[in-house]
């Protein structure tokens, strides 16, 4: 078990390094100059003295050869120092840490809501005896999966904020401001969880051991929840891991629509302004989240289903 975790962590480090390197290469190859951008007032023509721009370029080390810049940045990243934002001159790491709680709140709320809605819908579309009801409910997830977060968000704001004035449309103030964005974020994710879990449940319910349980006289509810759901949840668990990534990227859109502070907005503005230190920090941080979540999901499998083992097959004595 320990060896497995260590091996996975080593793989994770390689993933982080690769993410860092590819991003650096892309940013370097982009046909734009962050320093020119800093000097232009929001995209108007710039008339600033080229000598001053050269000074600024030197200050940020952008005048050095690319390999030297890369090694310097990599060395810093290894110490979690990504440099200072070109925009505000604040350390990139602290910019992320400042907004992280907001995005975390949103993502956790979104995740909880998607699991609740997803599992609920999956059970509701497999449990009832009424055939048409099961079919009607089973048609919902494909619909939900195809809804863009952006559109859902705008609709929610229109109806619940501008028309009925139940929730604020903008901001990060308190629980009320979290409701609409969390729902917007959760809807598509919950749909994909429901879709997978329902299919898996239907398959599991057709398995011989369920027949056996029924033959022994076990009640419908007990068969459904105790015998089938647990076994059927493995594929959904895998999707859940991927969903965390989906939710993080969904936060970019949700935070924009709902004018919320967070990692998504930080990312957008860093990309738009070519704020390289911040972009690098965000990419490495996101890669880190992926690595950790993937590992956590893999470690969860054997707890849910004892037939799965993380140890290599025992060598025959």
């Amino acid at each position: 078990m320990t060896r497995y975790v260590l091996r996975r962590l080593a793989q994770g480090a390689v993933v982080l390094w690769a993410a860092f390197t590819v991003t650096f290469a892309i940013l370097y190859l982009l046909p734009s100059d962050p320093v020119e951008l800093m000097a232009s007032g929001g995209g108007e023509q710039s008339v600033i003295d080229p000598a001053l721009l050269a000074e600024l370029r030197a200050e940020h080390g952008l005048d050095r050869p690319p390999l030297a810049q890369y090694l310097h940045a990599l060395g810093g990243a290894a110490r979690l120092d990504f440099g200072r934002s070109y925009q505000s001159d604040a350390p990139a790491t602290s910019l992320i840490l400042d907004v992280l709680p907001q995005t975390l709140q949103l993502t956790v709320a979104g995740l909880a809501l998607s699991v609740l809605l997803g599992v609920g819908l999956a059970v509701a579309s497999t449990y009832p005896r009424t055939r048409w009801l099961r079919h009607a409910l089973a048609a919902l997830p494909p619909l939900g999966v195809s809804l863009p977060v952006f559109w859902v968000g705008l609709m929610l704001v229109q109806v619940f904020s501008f028309q009925w004035r139940l929730f604020p449309a903008i901001g990060n103030d308190g629980l009320a401001s979290l409701v609409l964005p969390a729902v917007a974020l959760a809807l598509p994710t919950s749909a994909s969880i429901a879709q997978l879990l329902a299919r898996s449940l239907r398959q599991t319910l057709a398995e011989p051991y369920i027949e056996t349980a029924r033959a022994k006289g076990t009640g419908r509810a007990r068969v459904h929840f105790r015998h089938a759901l647990r076994n059927a949840s493995i594929p959904a668990l895998t999707v859940l891991g991927v969903s965390v990534g989906q939710l993080l990227s969904g936060a970019v859109v949700t935070e924009t629509v709902f004018s919320r502070v967070g990692l998504g907005r930080l990312t957008i503005s860093a990309v738009n302004t070519q704020d390289i230190p911040v972009v690098m920090a965000v990419v490495v941080f996101s890669a880190l989240v992926f690595v950790v979540v993937a590992l956590a999901v893999d470690l969860l499998y054997p707890l849910v289903d004892p037939r799965i083992s993380l140890r290599r097959a025992p060598v025959a004595a």
Partner: protein, 540 residues
Amino acid sequence: MRTLHRHAPGTALAFTAALALSACAGSAGEPAEGGSTSSASAEPVRGGDLAFAITVDSKCVDPQQVGNNDAIAIARQTVASLTAQNPESGEIVPWLAESWEVNDDASQFTFHLVDGATYADGTPIDAASVKTNFEAIVALGAKASLGSTYLVDLESVTTPDPTTVVVDFSAPSAQFLQATSTFSLGLLSPASAALSVEDRCAGKFDGSGPFVVQEYTVDQRAVLARRDGYTWGAAGASSHTGEAYLDTVTFTVIPEAGVRAGSLASGQIDATAAIGTADLPQFDGNGFWLAYRANPGVVFNLYPNESRPLLADERVRVAVLKGIDREEVTGTVLTPLDEPASAALAHTTPLYDGLDELLAYDPEGAKELLEEAGWVEGPDGIRVKDGQPLSTEVTFWQVKDPLELVQQQLRQIGFDLRLHQVTIAEATAASADGEYDFSYGNLTRSDPDILRNLFSVNARNTNKRAAEPVDQLLDAQAAAVDPAERQRLVTEASRLLLEKAHSIPVVELSTTIAAADTVHDLKFEASTRLDFYDAWVSQP
């Protein structure tokens, strides 16, 4: 602005200006701008908060560093400047300096400061602190994206006595007087000049203006609070001189256009200057008002890169200039309030002179010029010469609609303008590297010197061309102290820029405030930046 906020131009002010940048008669002051209105004449009420939406946060609210319009809206309110500029007349009027003198070639400026003004931390606004400010801006270099361009050629700042500041330049700098009216040269306390760039950006500075930064959360909001004891408002540019009326102004960042419009309509914000063209009509009346003003400075232009063979031919450039129907652009893809360009400078710029006759839509004249230059009609309507089609590209990041219409118009004369829309980052880089046929854009500045900054071969040289007579005119206006003489030089230079089609103006950039009827006297200052000093709110 036609209706809402009108000052009598030339309010009886005993200002001892040796150099008055008065706009020429019948230009900047005329009521070309318009908009609907609220009850304007009511007595201002003290107190309350004004919630104002901006589109983007620039991670910085330091007036000496910011360059983005939204950041400027916040930063402008936190500092007072040596001078102010009357938005109606373009005249430079006293603010922290009660008077000033300028020497014969506009290379030395002497300011006499008012008594009793202080920074927010209590230190007096004296000559030494002004010196500290200007030197700090020079030290910021390119980070002071606007201020550093105003202080180019600064030689020394001396302080013969505590209320006198003498600023010397190594070259004539007539633009400097207007520059002292901008937020970029707004004054911060000497202690603030010593802060790190990071702290200054985060709003931890002490300014000299009618508001102070109470709270600033990146990407979310900035809250400004009234500065108690502020009594040095610029009488020549505002309607009062005491403390601001509002308790607070809350700037909220709302990136999504539809959400901004909905938030204004549903009362979650009070005002914004960022409502899209399509949404504007619903705020014209119905409990709301609109106010409109063109940004002074260089209008949206196609800038030909004359180091490219095709655009080195003056006849081709002039044909493009004649082949654009500017009225049609404002009439179809912009709002009825927008103005077609009538010169390289917007009509709200001091010393602007209308040159409509040079910008008349003349497709036949354009075709003749192209024929003369050897471009004959090709099979698909695009002209050809030596087997080459008459086709070039414009690199830009702005809204596409006006250029799409220009593209269609130029097709009528057999000219193929390809639209290359890129990100701001790419457009800025292309412009800096000279990697374009045409670049496109505007530049806001309430002084005609901006023409020299952009077009002179001795400055940005956006045309990438060799020296011509126009450069002498552009450089000479920078040294002209006599307003009439400067007017003559600017007009002559503007005329040459159009005759040679170094500048191909299209439309003016404008800013429109949309606000609820409870908001009063939210105004534009001379550079079409937002001014919250006179603003107040009434109970609905």
